[in-house]
Amino acid sequence: MRRLIPRLILTVVGVVLVLTPFFVRPEAGGRGPLPVFFAYADENFSVWFNVLAVFAFILGGANLLRTHALRVRERGRDWPYSLLTLVAFTAVLVLGLFKVGGPPGLQGSVSHGDSALTWIFDWIYMPLKSTLFALLAFFVASAAYRAFRLRSWEASLLLAAAFVVLIGRTPFGVTLTAWLPNVLRFLRLDELSIWIMKVPNTAGWRSILIGISLGVVAMSLRLILGIEHAVLGGRR
């Protein structure tokens, strides 16, 4: 019985949402209980999911606090940094929940201009986030150095396409092959990189996107029909 009810919930919710596009929405003239019901489900099930996710935060937060508190108590590896995580977490939680710094009491939006949360966001959160994003420029360089090698025919194609586009993006790209006669103009770097983006790039992405859409359809079907065993527990 413990397995049946979750399966039933999953199937009913899945089927209802699959059918929503086939009913006329009330604002487009759909009358009667069915259009209203399906429109309500379409709009509200995702809101319910978000509310549900907020409750789950308690489980996540509990795990975060437990992991770092345990490490501090047992003086485990890097415990002073875990203490920092605990302090930062508690401070921001309190400052944010009570909207400290914003309009008096709990009025106004949580991300009000002068609130402590906004200050933390601007001067601690964003610098850390954008610098981590900036690390990607370095990692792009080291990944390219490591992977773009004439090792196999696939890796060589990967290298050739990336090379043409990379050079095409530099000022020299245009001058480097501008001398090519007009009959060979398609070999000029800027023409070649445009051709690569127009033809093989378009074909590659189209087949991948069509493949993904069928993958999602098949997986969603397996989930709704309850024959996808991995996630909600196997057949016992």
């Binding site: 601690i124 396409a161 969603s220």
Partner: protein, 224 residues
């Protein structure tokens, strides 16, 4: 050299993250643990005030809207807003081993919504759309009434590449013989796609690094 405390804090944190490029070190650990604590709490605060409060609390207790907007008129009472709250409480049963099996119910609801929403959306947006775009592009490209052979050859190649790519993504037959050949052509198209898209994305990543360096060199050290 900037005198503002905020710029100093942001710049020092920036250097701490960059230190990871050299190797894992106390400065990076400081930035890492600080960011985990700050961001986890930040999202929980947003989740409470931007999701839970308007969609659950205010809908169940309309007068509560005055807590955040003193002058506001209470909205309508929505009984059904209790459902996600119940699902949320069921989720918390996970904390008691005896009741842990109940937490499967909200998980089932969550997975049901995911499967239900995505099935038709991907079918329409990616499956039907991608095929109709390719078909509408057609094969024969005309300029001023005449067949443009360059453009037509390109369209044939796009069609061939897409079909061969789809052959690569089939599972029910081993990729051998001519079938394997088509799959390899599909892989070739995909490798060019990944290489070209990688090359194209480099500029976006470098732009973010350049702006960080400009803030350090200009905003903080005043050298620019």
């Amino acid at each position: 050299m900037s005198g503002s405390l905020e710029v100093w804090i942001a710049s020092l944190l920036t250097l701490m993250v960059f230190s990871f490029l050299w190797r894992d070190n106390p400065l990076y650990k400081f930035a890492e643990h600080l960011f985990v604590g700050v961001s986890a709490a930040y999202f929980m605060v947003l989740a409470f005030w931007s999701t839970l409060w308007p969609n659950a609390v205010v809908k169940l207790v309309p007068a509560a809207v005055r807590v955040t907007q003193p002058g506001a008129e209470p909205g309508a009472f929505e009984p059904l807003a209790i459902v996600p709250v119940l699902l949320g409480l069921l989720m918390l049963c996970r904390l008691w081993p005896r009741l842990a099996w109940l937490s499967r119910w909200p998980t089932a609801f969550a997975i049901g919504t995911t499967a239900g929403y995505n099935l038709t959306r991907y079918l329409r947006t990616d499956f039907l759309n991608q095929i109709s775009t390719t078909v509408q592009d057609g094969i024969v490209v005309q300029q001023a009434g005449r067949v443009a052979w360059g453009g037509t050859l390109d369209q044939i190649l796009v069609l061939a590449g897409t079909v061969c790519g789809l052959v690569y993504f089939t599972y029910s037959r081993p990729h051998r013989g001519y079938y394997g050949g088509m799959a390899r052509v599909g892989v070739a198209f995909m490798m060019v796609t990944f290489g070209a898209s990688f090359g194209y994305a480099v500029m976006g990543r470098v732009a973010v690094l350049v702006s960080r360096l400009q803030e350090l060199l200009g905003g903080w050290l005043g050298l620019l």
